[in-house]
């Protein structure tokens, strides 16, 4: 039986490692940083209440929990928007930076953020999970309920689109 202390240590280590990635993942759907943090909080707390002895191999489930919480949030927002007759469509759109960057990386980061905004949601989701979530195609496929081939294709399409958008001269080969 795990002790409170060990559970406490585990979730803190998990938070230190994954919080920025989970936040980035949530911000695909939610433009407000504050709302995205709320979503991550709900998902993270729910996950650790259910799995107090979670090990790193269980961490992909956290992304699934964040995804579920984000979609629930959007449904709630959608109902609210319909009530308010606001036709905004949620996309990756925000005023705050998505990446922590050094000065020399800032231009690349801003270009990337704009390129990510233009990606179809299903491709962006795979790209974020693969690059910054560091998940395997198999894990992403399991998480999204798709085949590995589908996930790999979306990833390739996403990279190709980014190459074309970000710097066609530099990335001529797909």
């Amino acid at each position: 039986m795990p002790s409170v202390t060990s559970s406490d240590t585990r979730w803190r280590a998990c938070f230190d490692e994954l919080a920025p990635r989970l936040l980035l993942f949530a911000r695909q759907w939610i433009d407000s940083v504050a709302d995205a943090e709320d979503v991550v909080q709900n998902a993270f707390v729910r996950f650790w209440r259910h799995q107090p002895d979670a090990a790193p191999e269980h961490y992909p489930l956290l992304y699934a929990a964040v995804r579920t919480a984000a979609l629930d949030f959007l449904r709630t927002q959608g109902r609210r928007r319909r009530r308010e007759e606001d036709e905004r469509v949620p996309v990756l759109r925000h005023d705050d930076a998505v990446f922590d960057t050094a000065v020399e990386q800032r231009e690349l980061a801003q270009t990337l953020e704009r390129a990510l905004e233009r990606l179809p949601q299903e491709q962006r989701e795979v790209l974020v999970l693969r690059i910054w979530g560091d998940l395997t195609f198999a894990q992403i496929a399991q998480l999204l309920g798709e085949s590995i081939n589908t996930i790999a294709s979306r990833y390739r399409y996403a990279l190709s689109a980014l190459r074309r958008t970000m710097n066609p001269a530099l990335y001529e080969r797909v």
Binding site: R21, L71, I131, Q142, R163, Y171
Partner: protein, 172 residues
Amino acid sequence: MNESELEKELRALRPTEASLDLRKRIETDLAGTGAEMVRPSAADVASSFAAGRLERRPAVVFGWWRNLGWASAGAAAALLVSAFFRTPTSSAEVDAPTDAATAAVQFQPAGSSREVLDAQDDGLLYDEDQTPQRRLRFQSLERHRWTNSATGAVLHFEVPREDTVLVPVAMQ
């Protein structure tokens, strides 16, 4: 898979840190549930399950909902048939039941179809064994046709239904 230059550049970008406030809020939430944090571990649950001390509930509950759907359809049909043969005056009601019951019995299912209107993936949930499961919801419309061979009457009715399917997820 060889990692391209683009992938390397992307990986070099680090997502922004979460706020300290988020950490504090999570700390507060998890600290308030100390009892939940000392529940049996997943390994304990797994060993109990292997030893037969725990019984895993069926992961897929589609059949239960399907039965409910048909039960609802049957009930709706019975109501419709009884309403169909119900006469509007109270005086006729006294004399009618036998004939109506006989006619209702003569109605037999003659066909049905089901149209899936919408499907939603609700994401992962945890069952009581802490097993992650994906919850899928399907909204559909069943159309049924009953005929009365004695009178040639045809009865059409529609039953909306929602099925919830839980699919176990084995995350490596």
